[in-house]
């Protein structure tokens, strides 16, 4: 190339590569959408909330969820039995975190994993359960 110019074919090829890669990126970004695991995780979180919301505690007059949200003392008392109950309820490969008006417990939430969540309104405030594959 005596005039120090790029060959026209190479320029065309570069444009072609950009075009093809653009289509490929469109596939990966466009087809990703919601992963199929999220409805499954939402269902598991919903199940946990439903079971805890209809199950009486060992003492007291509330369901477990209401007992968690009622007061600091009540929360401290039922936190450990509830944690054990959730561990028994969820599949072994699923981890959880529970948020109540009086504090949180469970596993630290990973920053990137797909998370399913369910919230139940009790008469003392909302209780949220988040679950993810650990």
């Amino acid at each position: 190339m005596p005039r120090g110019q790029l060959s026209l074919s190479v320029v065309e090829a570069a444009i072609g590569v950009v075009l093809v890669l653009g289509v490929a990126v469109g596939f990966t970004v466009g087809a990703a959408g919601p992963t199929p695991s999220t409805p499954q995780l939402d269902a598991l979180a919903h199940d946990t909330v439903t079971v805890l919301g209809t199950e009486p505690t060992d003492r007291g007059r509330d369901a477990r969820l209401a007992a968690l949200a009622r007061s600091n003392r009540s929360f401290a008392r039922v936190r450990e039995p509830t944690r054990r109950r959730i561990v028994a309820l969820l599949p072994a490969d699923v981890l959880f975190r529970v948020r109540t008006p009086h504090g949180e417990f469970g596993y630290p939430r990973p920053p990137t994993a797909a998370v399913g969540s369910a919230t139940a309104a009790t008469r003392y405030g909302p209780v949220t359960i988040r679950v993810w594959y650990g």
Binding site: S9, A13, V20, L21, A24, A43, T48, V51, P56, R61
Partner: protein, 221 residues
């Protein structure tokens, strides 16, 4: 000279373009493989699981609480009646790995897991109240219903659970009824009488025991 340089550039261009196309198709294939390729299986499996744990389903006592007796009676044709999308498909339903329904052998298909509790009821516990002495029966926490038999007692007009009137007849109760109790606290069952009551009121209840289980539904249409 110039013509040969162009030929080399053309070859490089073709190599680059072919490489990019291969990478692009690989990306597209991976993206398609990730996407849900059998939405019918997934829909059927989700519908079966949803229906089995619904609060008003014949298999449950309340939402997500399966009755052990109903689970024992479950079979493929009952599942089909309950959930039409499962018709004709290979279905496998397990509780913690133990097969409940197994029709066909689903190879692949869609899997849905749900958390449930299975409620087993104990043998009936019978307690009787002496109607003439105004005695009470204490029903433990967790029992949500009890049968109250007043047929062998006379002059009993009211039956109360924790002060709430559950049975009443102004003249005289002559019945054997199932009454609903609050499962969140122990219930005290007491009778109200007119004049001299005689005989016994019999209260029968079954103590429920719950066990957490994982319900797994696999459907391959």
């Amino acid at each position: 000279m110039r013509g040969q340089t162009n030929l080399a550039a053309l070859v490089i261009a073709f190599v680059l373009l072919t490489g990019a196309t291969v990478v692009g198709v690989a990306f597209a294939d991976a993206a398609l493989a990730d996407a849900d390729r059998n939405p019918r299986d997934r829909h059927a499996a989700t519908a079966v699981a949803d229906r089995l744990v619904a609060a008003d389903a014949p298999t449950t006592v309340r939402a997500n609480a399966l009755a052990a007796t109903a689970v024992d009676d479950l079979n493929a044709s009952r599942v089909e009646t309950l959930v039409p999308p499962a018709e004709g498909a290979a279905v496998r339903i397990t509780l913690d790995g133990e097969p409940v329904v197994d029709r066909g052998s689903p190879a692949g298909g869609a899997t849905v897991r749900r958390s449930v509790i299975v409620v087993t009821r104990s043998e009936p516990v019978r307690r009787s109240i002496n109607a003439s002495r105004n005695a009470t029966v204490r029903v433990p926490r967790g029992v949500d219903r009890a049968a109250v038999d007043v047929e062998s007692a006379s002059n009993v007009t009211t039956v109360r659970a924790n002060g709430r009137v559950v049975l009443y007849d102004g003249a005289e109760l002559e019945t054997n009824e199932t009454v609903h109790l609050s499962p969140y606290e122990p219930s005290t069952i007491r009778t109200g009488t007119v004049g001299n009551a005689t005989g016994r009121v019999v209260v029968t209840y079954r103590r429920p025991r719950t066990e957490p289980r994982i319900l797994t539904v696999i459907v391959d249409a």
